[in-house]
Structure formats: structure tokens, C-alpha cells
């Protein structure tokens, strides 16, 4: 009787069933789409961030902006530094001098600090691990000059000066400037930091035994653009390094943090920054303690900028972040709103249905149906309406998500070096650190008009948005439709149960 009646009611009152189910379906579909897009966005942000900051990093510590007077050789803070072409800097032939020099210095936006900070950080409560890196930019200059006496003493101040075009130095001269980013890291600590998020494409990664040696691991994108390969060599700070490995980002769409990775002590020696680091990557023993650690670090190291992954996520800009905020604001509220509307629709339709069927329920009570039997009947109807809506909603949501995944929209993600905010320094470090990313200015350095590595305001990565569907999202959506149906059914059933059996005798007006 129960199912016969249920089926007959739903079929017989098709319009109500359809309206309630459609409302529920739209809400459920939106919930699924918003959820899968937002988890896609989280993935995208995480992959952008992990390509910059490494996997497993909970907190990064960088030095706050140093005053320009502390900067190097009058160049902008952490800028390209100054080229000094000494008497023997080039070889002279036929009135022109061929010059080639390569210089390694801190990346624009990075400020070095003593690596004793690292041990301070490691001693902070709940810190399970910390790794220090030295983020550098290698700028090499090569070209020919017409006359030794016109020896240039060029000061590159990155963001402010106009980039030199080839031939800019006057008649007969031609030169190019090439810059790439270099990260010095402790090979023993490679579980943390930028090299932790990469996949090895060929060769090997840095090992503890590489300490102090001139070996380098090169980002695959950069290696391709410069035709570099394992066992080849690359000149960093005027020193030839042996390439031992090529790495790529785990995310197919983003490049790794830096063009070249070398052992930390080698980097410190070459850049004349022994005992200095620019970044510390910190791992917490539990994610619950991240804010405690952040507070402790800020207390113990007042001169540093301490940023959590959450702070880092807010530094991701571009259309990815626009979409992220669109989804997290509009999408969230829209789906909550639609869900509430669908629930309200289900409840109102159930209540009005019960009111219209007052005599029907009164009659059933008059012939002996119990309150429970009637409640169950009404609740069952609403539940099934909710479930039909839920099933249609899941189908609709799956189709929409599939459509998004087929379209796979590409979003631009930048790790911003905004002019304000707690994350300024490390943002800038990151931007300088990933010029190999497609679309970044200053990559593939050297060509006329190209900026210097330090000039990049923002490392832009194009990332394909996937909308991953998890079973949990689907189960959650179905659960929501069950909740909506039960809510409507409980309210409607309660009202039906309250009706008096004498309603059966009341004559219709």
C-alpha cells in the first residue's frame, strides 16, 4: 500500500513533483559544480604555490625589505648589481673588445640574512623541519665594445632603468644580457623547499655529497630553451657547473621555482654571501600549530616576514585568483541561496499539498490510519521528490563539470609581488625565482627589449583549470537532497498528523 500510494501520488501530482525536483536539481547541480570548480582552483593554487614554495612547506620566512642604503653597490635593493669590467675582462681584437661576464647576486626583492636564523627557527616549538635557501639571480653580459677606453661601467638597477637594447652602447658595439634565477639549497634537506615539489626528468637530484661542489640541477623548461642537458655545463657566476639533473614541475602547466638549483654552500661562496640565506621553508608538526608557530616566529624574528600557505594563496593573482574569489564568493552564496530556495520550495509545496489534501488525510484517519502511517506517507513523498531532484541534480552537475573539464579553461596565475602586504618580500623572491614560466617577462633573457630577471613584477603561469569530481561531492549532494526532502517531509508529515479525523466530515466550502 505504502509504495503504491506513494507512486500514485507522485505520478498523480506530477506538476508539484516536477517543480520540487527541478528546484532541488538546480541547487544540487550548482553545489556540485561550485564544489568541483573550487577544489579545482585549490589544486591549481596549490600547484602554483608548490612550484614556487615546494611541497610540504607550511610557512616561509624571508627578510623584510632592507633600506636602499643597505643595498649593494648603489643598485636597487637586491638588484642586478654592477658589472665591473676590469682590464682583463675581455679579449681585444681589431679595435673591438669581446666581453663576457657573469655575475651572481641576490635576486631582486630578496634580502639575505644570517643562516643562524635557521637554527633559531628550528628550535621554535612545533617546527618539525626547516630548510634555508639562497635565492640568487645570475646576470651574464656578453658582447663586443668598440674601444677599451669607452669601457662601460653599467649599473643595472632593474626596475627603473630602461633595459639596454643590443647596440645601445654606440657604434660597433653589440652585447646581450642574459639572466636566470639560481637557488642555493641544502641538498641534505631536499624534503623541504623548492626542490621537493619537482619530478626528476633525467639524471639525478642534488645529494648530500654535492656539498661544496659545482653541480647544478636545471629546470626542464629552462633547459629546453637553452638546449641544456645532463652532463652538459652551465656557467654560473663565471664558474662552470656540471649539470647533473633536469627537473620539471609536478604540475604539467607550471615550471619549477627556479631555473637552476645548486648546493647552498657553493652558492654562498660564489655570491660572496657565506653564511647567508634569503628564504627559510618551515614545516609544522601539525597543521593545527601553524598559527602558533607563525606567532612565535614573528616574536623571535621581528625583522622577518613570516607567511603561511594561506598568506601565500592570497598572493596568487591573475585570472586564477579572480575565478577563485568569484567561486568562493558568488558561487558559494549562489549555491547556498539556491539550496535554501529549493528547500523552501520543497517545504512550501509539501505544506500546501497537505493543506489541499486535508480531507484526504482526514478520511484516512477516519478509516483508522495512524498518525505515524500518514506522516510516513507524506515524508516518503517529499523524500522521493528530493531524491529525484538530487539524482537529476547529480546528473546535471556531472554534465556541467564534464563540460568544464572538456573546455578546460586556462587561467593565468601570478604570484604577486604586490607593493604592500605581509607577503611582499617573498612574493618578489618568488617572482624572480620563476622567470622560466611561460609569459613571464625577463625569461629567456638576453634578447633586445627583454627585461632583467629582477624586473618581473609577477611570475605568470598559465594553468588549466580542472574540476575534479570526488565521490564525496556526489554523496554530499545526494545527502543534501535527502536532507531537503526529509525536512519538507517532516514538516508536511507533522502537519498532516496534526489534522483531526473529523476533517473528513467537514463539507467543502
Amino acid at each position: 500500500m505504502y509504495f503504491t500510494y506513494l507512486r500514485r501520488e507522485l505520478a498523480g501530482r506530477r506538476r508539484q513533483t516536477i517543480i520540487v525536483a527541478v528546484g532541488m536539481a538546480l541547487a544540487i547541480a550548482l553545489v556540485i559544480v561550485v564544489n568541483s570548480i573550487s577544489s579545482g582552483i585549490k589544486d591549481a593554487q596549490a600547484s602554483v604555490l608548490s612550484s614556487v614554495y615546494g611541497v610540504g612547506t607550511d610557512i616561509t620566512v624571508t627578510q623584510k625589505a632592507a633600506a636602499p642604503t643597505q643595498g649593494q653597490a648603489g643598485a636597487g635593493p637586491g638588484g642586478g648589481g654592477q658589472f665591473d669590467f676590469g682590464q682583463d675582462a675581455g679579449t681585444s681584437s681589431g679595435g673591438t673588445t669581446a666581453i663576457s661576464q657573469s655575475r651572481l647576486s641576490t635576486s631582486r626583492g630578496s634580502t639575505a640574512f644570517a643562516d643562524t636564523t635557521l637554527s633559531t627557527i628550528k628550535n621554535v616549538n612545533h617546527v618539525s623541519g626547516a630548510a634555508g635557501t639562497l635565492e640568487l639571480t645570475n646576470i651574464s653580459f656578453s658582447g663586443t665594445l668598440p674601444d677599451r677606453s669607452q669601457r662601460p661601467s653599467q649599473s643595472q638597477s632593474g626596475g627603473t632603468s630602461t633595459p639596454p637594447a643590443s647596440g645601445a652602447a654606440g657604434g660597433g658595439s653589440s652585447f646581450s644580457v642574459d639572466s636566470f634565477s639560481v637557488t642555493g639549497l641544502d641538498p641534505a634537506a631536499d624534503a623541504l623547499g623548492p626542490l621537493s615539489s619537482v619530478t626528476l626528468k633525467s639524471g639525478r637530484t642534488l645529494a648530500a655529497s654535492d656539498d661544496g661542489t659545482n653541480v647544478a640541477v636545471v629546470d626542464a623548461t629552462y633547459a629546453t630553451s637553452k638546449s641544456l642537458a645532463v652532463d652538459g655545463s652551465i656557467t654560473i657566476g663565471g664558474t662552470a657547473f656540471k649539470i647533473v639533473g633536469i627537473v620539471s614541475s609536478t604540475s604539467t602547466d607550471a615550471s619549477t621555482a627556479t631555473n637552476v638549483y645548486i648546493p647552498l654552500d657553493t652558492a654562498q661562496k660564489l655570491s660572496n654571501m657565506t653564511g647567508k640565506i634569503t628564504n627559510v621553508y618551515v614545516k609544522a608538526d601539525s597543521s593545527a600549530n601553524i598559527s602558533t608557530i607563525k606567532a612565535d616566529l614573528q616574536k623571535q624574528l621581528p625583522d622577518t616576514t613570516v607567511a603561511t600557505q594561506e598568506d601565500l594563496a592570497s598572493s596568487v593573482s591573475g585570472s586564477l585568483s579572480t575565478t577563485a574569489s568569484l567561486v568562493s564568493n558568488l558561487g558559494l552564496w549562489l549555491s547556498i541561496g539556491l539550496l535554501v530556495a529549493a528547500f523552501a520550495l520543497a517545504v512550501l509545496f509539501t505544506i500546501s499539498g497537505v493543506s489541499r489534501r486535508t480531507r484526504e488525510f482526514g478520511t484516512l484517519k477516519a478509516i483508522g490510519w495512524s498518525n505515524w502511517r500518514i506522516t510516513r506517507q507524506v515524508a516518503g513523498e517529499s523524500l522521493v521528490q528530493g531524491l529525484i531532484g538530487g539524482a537529476c541534480g547529480v546528473a546535471l552537475g556531472l554534465l556541467a563539470t564534464l563540460a568544464i573539464n572538456i573546455a578546460s579553461p586556462t587561467l593565468a596565475a601570478g604570484v604577486s609581488s604586490g607593493t604592500s602586504g605581509p607577503f611582499q618580500r617573498s612574493g618578489a623572491a618568488a617572482s624572480a625565482g620563476s622567470p622560466g614560466a611561460p609569459g613571464a617577462s625577463g625569461l629567456a633573457g638576453g634578447p633586445p627589449g627583454g627585461g632583467f630577471g629582477g624586473q618581473a613584477k609577477e611570475a605568470v603561469t598559465n594553468i588549466v583549470l580542472h574540476a575534479p569530481l570526488s565521490l564525496w561531492i556526489i554523496l554530499g549532494a545526494v545527502a543534501l537532497s535527502v536532507v531537503g526532502g526529509l525536512l519538507a517531509g517532516a514538516i508536511g508529515g507533522w502537519r498532516a498528523a496534526r489534522l483531526s479525523p473529523s476533517e473528513a466530515l467537514r463539507s467543502v466550502a
Binding site: E9, G368, N371, A504
Partner: protein
């Protein structure tokens, strides 16, 4: 569930006109209407023997439906006692009244009150669903009951596909399928034209006779009322014998 099955079964199966089906003593029913109390029913003493066919007449608003509600265990009186099958309906809980309605009382309404989405057979089955009859038994008994009212060939028709007289016959089948002791009818022919009215009345009378029912029927129709063994008149809540 401590209903006195033995005595009620006995009165039903053996035509013992002397046994009492209903005994009402000092029964009143008040309704609150616009802040005032309306006494819809005020019965000092009323006894209805088992197997009697009673017609109730009276002006609109006189209290006919209210009396039927009390007899049908749809509602409790404000005061007084209504003894039915050895129990005082005034003191029973709602669930117990529900059980009595399900097992012992058949109801017929002026507007038929069929479930519009269920077909004739399913409508009849609703009366058995509460009586622990299994699915096959329900189906079989519903078809039997429909056959008894001459609608064997309309079992799968929806109420909207039946005439008024046919709908009321389905309702009669629904009321009788559980073999109740009492059949209560509130203006059963009020919505029917003359031909259908006679058809339904003949059916009710025949069922009453065949099944030894106690039939209590509210009617405006004197021709219908004349067929009854006893006629009661209710006005302003007071019951008087009208024979």
C-alpha cells in the same frame, strides 16, 4: 487492544436485537467559535441497539455531523460517556480510537472522499492496510467488496473516471471491506441525483440486512429516512425520537 471481541462478534453474528451497540449518557460537545463556546451537541440519554437502522434528520447546523463524529470515534465528547463495545469512547486515547475506527467502524461521506490518485481497488485496500491483512489478501478482499457493490469491472478506474453513484459505491465497498459492526453515513445520497440515490440506498439497505450491520445515517431526504427502522431528529444539539 483489549477490546471485548467476544461480545461484539456475538452481537454481530447472532441477530440479537436486544443487545446495545451504543449507549450515550450526558454527552455534550462544545466548539469554540469566535471566542464563544458553541454547544453543538447535548444528549442526555441515547441508546442504539445493535443491528438497528437509524435515520438522523434535522436542520443544518443542528448537530447531526457532530453526533456522527462522536459515534464514529473521530472525536471525543466534551463531557459524558459513549459506551461502544464495552469501552467508553470518551476516555480512550487517540491511538485507541484509531484502532476502533480501523476495525469496527465503517464511514461513508457525502463527498465520497476517495483518494483521487488511487484506483477503485486501491481505495478499498486503504481500509485493510491498517488491519494487518497481507498484500494478496487485501487485493482479493478489495475485489470481492467491489463485486458486492457491483463494480467488479471498475476495479482499476480512478475516482475521476467514475460517476458519483459509482464513487459512492466504491466508498461503501471501502467502508464494508473490513466487516465493521457499524456503518455510519453522513448524507450519503446528498450529492447524488435521484436515480443514483435509489441505487445507493438499495445497496446500503441490502448490505445492512445481509451483514447484520448497525446502520446510522444522516439524511435530508424523507424518502430515504422512511426506510429506516428508527428516525431521530437533532436540532440545537438536542436529540428527539421522530416516529
Amino acid at each position: 487492544m483489549s477490546l471485548n471481541q467476544n461480545s461484539t462478534v456475538a452481537t454481530n453474528s447472532i441477530p440479537e436485537r436486544e443487545s446495545v451497540m451504543y449507549q450515550l449518557t450526558s454527552v455534550t460537545k462544545n466548539y469554540a467559535h469566535k471566542g464563544k463556546t458553541v454547544r453543538a451537541l447535548d444528549v442526555a440519554e441515547l441508546s442504539i441497539p445493535a443491528g438497528q437502522m437509524v435515520a438522523i434528520q434535522g436542520p443544518t447546523g443542528g448537530g447531526k455531523s457532530t453526533l456522527l463524529q462522536m459515534l464514529g470515534a473521530l472525536d471525543r465528547p466534551t463531557s459524558g460517556s459513549i459506551t461502544f463495545g464495552g469501552k467508553d469512547l470518551a476516555t480512550l486515547r487517540s491511538a485507541q480510537l484509531g484502532t476502533i475506527r480501523a476495525e469496527k467502524i465503517g464511514f461513508i461521506f457525502q463527498n465520497f472522499n476517495l483518494i483521487p490518485t488511487l484506483n477503485a481497488a486501491q481505495n478499498v485496500e486503504t481500509a485493510l492496510a491498517v488491519n494487518g491483512v497481507d498484500k494478496a489478501g487485501r487485493k482479493e478482499r478489495a475485489l470481492e467488496a467491489l463485486a458486492a457493490v457491483g463494480l467488479a469491472d471498475r476495479a482499476d478506474h480512478l475516482p475521476s473516471e467514475l460517476s458519483g453513484g459509482q464513487q459512492q459505491r466504491v466508498a461503501i465497498a471501502r467502508a464494508l471491506v473490513k466487516n465493521p459492526q457499524v456503518l455510519l453515513a453522513d448524507e450519503p445520497t446528498g450529492n447524488l441525483d435521484e436515480a443514483m440515490r435509489d441505487e445507493v440506498m438499495e445497496l446500503l439497505e441490502r448490505q445492512w440486512r445481509e451483514k447484520n450491520l448497525t446502520l446510522i445515517m444522516v439524511t435530508h431526504d424523507s424518502a430515504v429516512a422512511r426506510r429506516a427502522q428508527r428516525r431521530l431528529r437533532i436540532a440545537h444539539g438536542k436529540v428527539t425520537e421522530a416516529k
